[in-house]
Amino acid sequence: MSETTGLLKEPWQYFERQREAGTFGIWVFLASEVLFFGALMLTYTVCRIENVQAFAAAGRETNIWYGTINTAILLTSSLTMAMASQAAAANEGLRRLILWCLAATAALGLAFLVVKGFEYREDIEKHLVPGTHFGLKQPTEQLFFGLYWIVTGVHAVHLTIGIVMVVRLTLLGYLNKFQLDENPEIQVTGLYWHLVDIIWIFLYPLIYLPGRSS
């Protein structure tokens, strides 16, 4: 028990209680994120129901390779994050494993953003930005891309926040500023990271797969 007192914060007297509160608190926050992104999904759903053809046509213009590679990257980052989180909870002194997995998670997150950057550049070159210079014929196809930019943008913001959190953990752990074993912050960050992954899991079929079968 004494190894964990360095992590004890106000107003807690018992570390176990603090850990419980941290885990519970992040799950409650994740519930709010479910409604946040869920509202975006609803917007997409309503717009798609009301414009089926346009969404199929517009969906075909997305780059399925960038999308699929990014999904694979993010799923792998969930693997490394889960490893880091579970290794920390195991309390077995797996310091190098935890640090490497945290670093890998951040690196994979960055890789996602880099691929996204290339994708955005290509989208701009193809004039897939709604407005007067929109590249596709039907005006209603702009709606799909309006949603595309907003949804991927909001997701990227969340991912960036996640990357910052993971990098912070990696640095603090590497520099021995806090212990890694049983560190509740790693678990909390992990849960947030997995949510960002889950959001993308749902975005993938909505953005990249419409219209492929025709």
Partner: protein
């Protein structure tokens, strides 16, 4: 010291194996969803994409996020988000779909 090392190495290997299997399943599902998207099955095509997404999300939430092992209070918090999202979808779509049907 040696036994400690071997012990922690065993734990690490167990973690890799468990999580690696889940990752492999996720990759397989990703491939499936990509393939299905190109098969013309009418309304089933987009539905398949969504269903597979739910399965992938389920794996992440139950196994990576360990919701399956979490205490009931945590599961209640997770459920609350999903339930109220379902309400948002259901009642909004009740309006949208009945308006479309009326057109």
């Amino acid at each position: 010291m040696n036994t400690h090392n071997t012990h922690s190495r065993t734990i690490a290997w167990k973690l890799w194996r468990r999580n690696g299997l889940i990752w492999a399943a996720l990759m397989l599902l990703l491939t499936l969803t990509l393939v299905f998207a190109y098969v013309p099955m009418g309304l089933v095509t987009p539905a398949a994409g969504i269903v597979i997404a739910f399965v992938k999300a389920g794996l992440v939430i139950l196994l990576f996020m360990e919701l399956a092992k979490a205490r009931p209070l945590i599961r209640l918090a997770a459920m609350a988000g999903v339930v109220f999202l379902a309400v948002l979808f259901a009642l909004t779509l009740a309006d949208v779909l009945s308006r479309l049907a009326g057109r």
